[in-house]
Subunit: 347 residues, 2 copies
DNA sequence: CTGAAAGCGCTAACAC
DNA sequence: GTGTTAGCGCTTTCAG
């Protein structure tokens, strides 16, 4: 009598039969409830509930060609900036009733392409991604070739739909502020430029600011993104005529720079000012609290999903024109201060 | 002549036709290449490649009842411990050629159930999750009712397959070490116990250690998981007869406690020792470097996927018996030191 | 407002 | 080694 549901899942046919209606009606109850009479709807709902019926996603996807899944491609979760963003993505996706499929690239270009390929194979409806370099990303080309809707986050490029912050402006503003605090010898510490167009843009802003202030930016320090690199930074801090300020391309690097400085016996910010970029939450809980350019990371994730979903629903994929530039905030923590006066004078 | 592929995706039928073979053969080429003759295999592969053919995942899933997707349920990505774990999950899943679908619960029980329901609806083959309380999780019951294979991470419970670390032992060991350093007034700062069985277990270890040392643990400070709570901690530090050591249930809380201490004018570790738990990577880059019980977070993620996938492949769902306890490491950073001698004597 | 029937793209018996 | 065929569970015209 009740041996029907034992093997496999209950299907729409079972529900139809038990409710004494056609499968089509059951389908309607789930997809367009309002076009079904109250009586039948309640009846079907009841049967479905007590049979613990769950529509089969693959069958639905196969039929409708829409998976309600969106692919997410991120460099790493080891940097909290992306974790925070992903949290925003997850919230927004849940709100919009989409599932998310995650892929991580480790800043590796071949992995980016692989991630995109996997996601295409999984049949996602669209993708949210942060790539190394939007300008020459093969991964993006693949996506476009397949006609999959997509939105970039953090990346900033006029030819793509992007949710981003004006990193160059932000860095320019930050650098100016440092100059106003009396700093003259300012060095930038960057993640590998080749692996991040954001770092490149931030560097540009830094250089502009220095030029406008008639200062020569000292040689850029390029460090790996994922490993620690405290040694490279220490070397610079121990050289003669060391910088009075270190401007870092992201918070993680700044935190390590602070450690490097302290290990060198320098006080932050008394002896040296150090700034970050991103506004990760932990930055505010450290001591000294990190001075940084705060980006609305979770919001950026949410917005990217919102934009993508909107494009999906109205069958009008997000285009470059719908890009959104979000405002940044200069967070003055405690890691930056006036330039020290007792340091050996410049040159 | 070439107007076949313009609408929709190319299917296995197209490839079969173009290659002059049957659809079944094309299927075989993709699923069991070795049972097809070299000649036909190469032929089909060629046609497939140049037609940019990608097997349709939903159709395959519908037919085989296996999605090659695993669901992941995590409390939050705002705590790097879970982000690091997720990174491990992502790696392992990619290695094993599985996709991952992510859901976040914010430590909310109803969200846990919702997440599981969504994942079931998405048709994942199995799930990896960390729940608030393994002992009484309705979410886990749902999973079991549906017969979906699953593995818990961080949670530790004899009735479930778990990848975990002995949090109680670890905390006991840590507390003993603190006692050996001369600390007598040690207070534990915990995330809400109700929201985390890990915190509960760690607390148990703390209490055991204190009892073994014939010390009375001062009242537990319970703080929220996600918000900052620096004020609550400061209050305790400013009270008379303050603790000489703060034992925190996770690194995030420890970092905030360090800030609270410093804001109260206390030096860490000279005036007060503060320890964390989890071993998030950032802890090592801070100054003082965080003293903590390090867990192999990424590895825990990897292992959980490995265990799950193995269970999936051999159609033998992971059981409690296959649980794995991973070793923890006491990381002595710089945030803990000998108890100060100048503090007002106890009672 | 509801039912009948076709088929989305793929795999797995089963024949040859 | 390869081809034929029958669905997996669902949605969606098209009738009524």
């Amino acid at each position: 009598m009740k041996d029907k549901q034992q093997s496999g899942r209950t299907s729409i046919l079972d529900i139809a039969e038990r409710a004494g209606v056609s499968p089509a009606t059951v389908s309607r109850v789930f997809n367009s409830p309002h076009i079904v009479s109250d009586a039948t709807r309640n009846l079907v709902m009841g049967v479905a509930k007590q049979s613990q019926y769950r529509p089969n996603a693959s069958a639905r996807t196969l039929r409708t060609r829409r998976s309600r899944a969106i692919g997410v491609v991120l460099p790493t979760l080891t940097n909290p900036v992306f974790a925070e963003c992903l949290q925003g993505i997850a919230w927004a996706a849940a709100m919009a009733n989409y599932a998310i499929m995650l892929q991580t690239t480790g800043y590796q270009l071949d992995q980016e392409e692989g991630a995109v390929a996997n996601l295409q194979a999984s049949g996602v409806d669209g993708m949210v991604l942060v790539v190394s370099d939007a300008a020459k990303s093969k991964a993006i080309q693949q996506i476009q070739a397949a006609g999959t809707p997509y939105v970039l986050v953090y990346n900033r490029h006029s030819k793509h739909p992007c949710i981003s912050v004006a990193g160059d402006d932000a860095m320019l503003e930050l650098t100016h502020a440092l100059v106003r605090l009396g700093h003259r010898r300012i060095t930038m510490v960057c993640g590998r430029l080749a692996a991040s167009d954001r770092a490149q843009q931030r560097y540009d802003g830094f250089v502009s600011a220095m030029e406008q202030a008639n200062l020569t930016p000292s040689a850029l320090i390029e460090v790996p993104f994922i490993e620690t690199a405290i040694d490279e930074i220490s070397a610079v801090l121990q050289a003669g005529n060391r910088p009075t300020a270190l401007v870092c391309s992201n918070d993680l690097i700044a935190i390590r720079a602070i450690r490097a400085a302290k290990l060198c016996g320098l006080r932050v910010p008394d002896d040296i000012s150090i700034s970050g970029f991103d506004g990760i939450q932990l930055g505010a809980d450290m001591t000294p609290a990190l001075s940084t350019v705060a980006q609305p990371n979770a919001e950026m994730g949410q917005r990217s999903v919102a934009l993508l979903v909107q494009g999906l629903e109205q069958e009008n994929p997000p285009a470059a024109a719908s890009s959104i530039t979000l405002p940044y905030t200069l967070h003055w923590g405690e890691s930056c201060g006036p330039a020290p006066i007792d340091v050996c004078p410049s040159s």
